[in-house]
């Protein structure tokens, strides 16, 4: 499997992570190298293996769904870079493409 520079640009948009044009070539090379390691995996016989069940791992422990009072609300809000009263502020959303 190989990967193109165009794909690296597409992935950076998906990840909401801007990268400089100058970084694209080295990132593409990095992807190729990682995927080379991956190639050996595809030679294994994986027939009938459930990828979602970890053997020997106990299931998710259940607990009662009980409301607990928490006093950290104002501390959470005070960590916000832009805030108006009890709301997080963001720049304009409408009219944007992407």
């Amino acid at each position: 499997m190989s990967i193109s520079q165009e794909e690296v640009r597409r992935v950076s948009m998906l990840a909401r992570l801007e990268i400089d044009e100058g970084e694209i070539a080295s990132l593409t090379r990095h992807f190729q190298e990682i995927l080379q390691y991956f190639n050996s995996l595809q030679e294994l016989d994986l027939e009938g293996i459930n990828p979602f069940v970890m053997e020997g791992v106990e299931g998710t422990p259940w607990r009662e769904d009980r409301a607990v009072q928490w006093d950290g609300r104002s501390e959470v809000l005070s960590g916000s870079p832009r805030r108006e009263e009890d709301f997080f502020m963001v720049p304009s959303i409408l009219g944007e493409e992407g």
Binding site: M1, I3, E7, V8, V11, S12, L14, A15, R16, L17, E18, I19, L27, H30, F31, E33, I34, Y37, F38, N39, S40, L41, Q42, L44, L46, I49, N50, P51, F52, V53, M54, E55, G56, V57, E58, T60, P61, R63, G72, E75, V76, G79, S80, P81, R82, F88, V90, P91, S92, I93, G95, E96, G98
Partner: protein, 492 residues
């Protein structure tokens, strides 16, 4: 008289016996940090005033007859990816540089409840991604045995802090070797417990199906003491086991290993190992054998050939998902932008370092439409085979022995531009995370240049006790971990 170099268990005993006050202990530790950390850079945040204030409180509680906890007076350091209420928690990233968590991680609560005094937060690879503690927004941490070399990573600051004698116990987190590899490079003990043994509530997530918190220490007794304090069910972490934990100190009473079988993993010999590391493994095997253990060769063929490939699909995939939360809106760094999309793009560009970006992009790629089945699902299936290989091995032996890292500490800058080579540093540790098992790095001697050599012991799920027993037998032969000079020429 200085308390420098005492183990946590000794400190707790001496504080109980009033040989030292908590304040004296904390001052000694802070002085050690003050004299060495300008060179080592193991710390991101030092909470001097807070620690002294807490020490004074503990002293007055003791004076008024209050019963001490199992760690009363023990100074500890916590990796900077564990939340500490009101104390900066940066993950060594620009994106969290000003962030103060509104709550404590479960392990922080547990340490304090046991009477420990947190002195500060340790340096690390950004978001725990790395094997050298060079990928830090706060500059590289240095190895206390040779300050031109790395301490390993990602929990390099915690490892260096314990090795250099800042504190007897520090916490790290281990996603693919981030406790064991730096323990190995710094010549101390580093334990990654079974997935689900210790609550991760308040640990900033990297790869949630792999991350686990664990202790660094210079004695096996201190590891057991740490587990006694930290291992418990927690309703705030749904992956934390609800089973009762044993008293881990009980496992140290074992004197003989007769009836115990130790597996030596055959495939590690196929790797290009530093000869002193092979020698370290042989030395550990010999001691275990002399103590009565039977050594048997064990094979983990898929694990040793495909572990790395599976890990570098699964870990970045989970990281790309976990790190999506850093968006410049609710906390952390936020760049000025005209619209929401630009806010995300610019903030994340400015906030994350090179290695974190690499992993986010790799993870986003393997999870993206059209590739998910080919990469992520295949890697998860391989993970099942790896787990089965370990299960099969543990039906025959009680523990497995292999190197922790293929090489001793490398020079700062040597691998930083060669990510794949850097990833290879975790080739023996990351399969243990994929299978959710406990692994301990113990010191197996030193190279001719005086660099520590680590040997890894791996146990079955919940097999911490078994590993601690064997490590205890080793320690009686080899002695506790030595304290490193930390850049001071006149010591050691």
């Amino acid at each position: 008289m200085s308390s420098h170099g005492l183990s946590a268990s000794e400190i707790a005993r001496k504080v109980r016996a009033r040989e030292f006050s908590v304040t004296e202990i904390v001052i000694d530790s802070l002085e050690r940090i003050g004299s060495l950390d300008g060179t080592l850079n193991a710390m991101i945040t030092i909470e001097r005033d807070r620690a002294l204030e807490r020490a004074a409180k503990l002293d007055s509680a003791l004076a008024s007859g209050e019963g001490p906890g199992p760690m009363t007076g023990v100074p500890v350091i916590v990796k900077d990816n564990m939340c500490t209420r009101g104390i900066p928690t940066t993950c060594a990233s620009r994106i969290l540089s000003d962030w103060k968590p509104p709550y404590n991680a479960a392990v922080v609560e547990d340490l304090e409840k046991a009477g420990a005094v947190i002195l500060g937060k340790s340096n690390m690879d950004e978001f725990a991604m790395g094997s050298s503690t060079e990928h830090s927004a706060y500059g590289p941490c240095r190895n206390p045995w040779d300050t031109t070399r790395v301490p390993g990573g990602s929990s390099g600051g915690s490892a260096a802090a314990v090795a250099a004698g800042y504190v007897p116990i520090a916490l790290g987190s281990d996603t693919g070797g981030s406790i064991r590899q730096p323990a190995s490079l710094c010549g101390i003990y580093g334990l990654k417990p079974t997935y689900g043994l210790i609550s991760r509530y308040g640990l900033i997530a990297f790869a949630s199906s792999l991350d686990q918190i664990g202790p660094f220490a210079r004695t096996v007794e201190d590891l057991a003491l740490s587990l006694n304090v930290l291992a418990r069910p927690d309703r705030k972490d749904s992956t934390c086991s609800s089973s009762e934990r044993p008293d881990y100190l009980d496992f140290l009473k074992v004197g003989s290993l007769s009836g115990k079988k130790v597996g030596i993993v055959r495939e590690f010999r196929d790797y290009d190992l530093h000869e002193d590391i092979s020698r370290g493994v042989e030395k550990v095997l010999r001691i275990l054998q002399n103590a009565g253990a039977v050594i048997e060769e064990v094979s983990l063929p898929v694990t040793m050939t495909s572990g790395l490939g599976a890990y570098y699909i699964i870990a970045p995939a989970e990281a790309s998902s976990n790190l999506a939360r850093y968006d410049g809106v609710r906390y952390g760094l936020s760049e000025e932008a005209e619209d929401l999309l630009s806010l995300y793009l610019k903030t994340r560009k400015a906030g994350f370092g090179t290695e974190v970006k690499r992993r986010i992009l790799t993870g986003t790629y393997v999870l993206s439409s059209g590739y998910y089945d080919a990469y992520y699902l295949t890697a998860q299936k391989v993970r099942q085979i790896i787990t089965r290989e370990f299960t099969e091995a543990f039906s025959r032996v009680h523990t497995l022995i292999m190197p922790t890292s293929p090489s001793p500490a490398f020079r700062i800058g040597e691998l930083v531009d060669d990510p794949i080579h850097m990833y290879m540093m975790d080739v023996f540790t990351l399969p243990v995370n994929l299978a959710g098992l406990p692994g301990l790095s113990v010191n197996g001697g030193y190279t001719s240049e005086g660099l520590p050599v680590g040997v890894q012991m791996v146990g079955p799920r919940w097999g911490e006790g078994e590993i601690l027993s064997m490590a205890g037998v080793l320690e009686r032969e080899l002695g506790p971990a030595r304290i490193a000079p930390g850049g001071l020429a006149d010591e050691n």
